[in-house]
Symmetry: C2
Subunit: 211 residues, 2 copies
């Protein structure tokens, strides 16, 4: 009796179709300027149906965020594979993150949206956990690169890999976020480019970790 399976598959497809529709609108108009009615129309469904698949508008946006996080994890894995020493891996992962924030600017925006929320908000959403574990997996890619670096001697041995991974995650997320906000002011008032600062940051990180 493959009917249950087919139904499950169809349910997932519909769910994805809704996320697709929401993405198209939110990525074009922004989260605040997109209404659930608009999403419903774009998905060719009624509004009520959206709420059968997602608990709330935030929950829907969280599902979009989950997609972005998956892409980011893959980019991190690729970045780590491209080079050999641990320190190189770290720098390359950092570059991948920056690339992600540019190429998938809208997914990055979604990530920021959730990192800015108070911890207690909407913690009960089932999607939240999935994002958390996704984040952990991504973090572990970084931590493993640090371990590699300690082993091959490219990274100083007196640090804890997971702690460094978390610190780097915070550093890079924050830097990209701040720069995204200030690009306008940046290039007019001070005569620095976004890349200048990113490179300065990489230089600092490299020196801070070198063994």
């Amino acid at each position: 009796m493959g009917i249950a399976e087919r139904k499950e598959r169809e349910k997932q497809q519909r769910r994805n179709a809704i996320i697709d529709a929401a993405e198209r609108l939110i990525f074009e108009k922004g989260y605040e300027n997109t209404t659930m009615d608009m999403v419903a129309e774009e998905a060719e469904l009624s509004k009520g149906t959206l709420y059968l698949y997602f608990k709330s508008k935030e929950g829907l946006y969280l599902a979009i965020n989950a997609r972005g996080m998956k892409i980011l994890e893959q980019m991190f894995r690729d970045a780590a594979r491209e080079v050999t020493t641990g320190l190189e891996k770290i720098v390359n992962i950092g570059k991948a993150y920056f690339k992600f924030s540019q190429e998938f600017h809208n997914y990055f925006q979604a990530m920021i949206h959730y990192e800015a929320k108070k911890p207690d908000t909407d913690m009960e959403l089932p999607c939240w956990d999935s994002c958390e574990t996704q984040g952990m997996r991504t973090l572990e890619v970084v931590a493993r690169a640090v371990e590699t670096g300690i082993e091959d001697g490219s990274i100083r041995a007196d640090v804890d890999p997971m702690q460094v991974a978390m610190a780097l995650w915070g550093h890079t997320t924050g830097l990209i976020q701040v720069l995204a906000l200030k690009v306008n002011q940046l290039e007019k008032f001070n005569d620095v480019t976004l890349e200048d600062i990113i490179n300065t940051s990489f230089k600092m990180t490299r020196n801070g970790l070198a063994g």
Copy 2:
């Protein structure tokens, strides 16, 4: 004719009283869970009056943010004055930022709120510029500390002070933000404390900048 001056003074007082009222509510219940009607009642004014003093709810929150930024700038200045070498100043400023995020958690939250917003949103608000220049002043305190460090030899000379200041600002803001979000997961799953990671970050920064 000191009447105009008195009126101006009264206007500022009323404005401050509104911010006070909004702060009390938002800091207790959170921004999303505070309505303008609630603020009006707390301030013992009608809702319409709030809009004579602030363009929007966001504008009011931005004014709260401005208060926080002033406190932060002062803390940075104090932190820089407490120690002598440039590198020490940088580390001490970092510590001050962390302290700010703990002691004035609600102001930090307000800052995050605006750093997470898209650049184009509400850019026209008069308060925004004030926050931007406030931010620049704060950043200059950091940049000056880096300059001092280059001069006294505690910081490597091959970096641009303003670029380093911006990188550090991004790093630290991001790190604290991420940690604030993950404190729960953090201390349960991995057996690290918030302070451990902050210290790891400081260690990396110190090594990355040392001359």
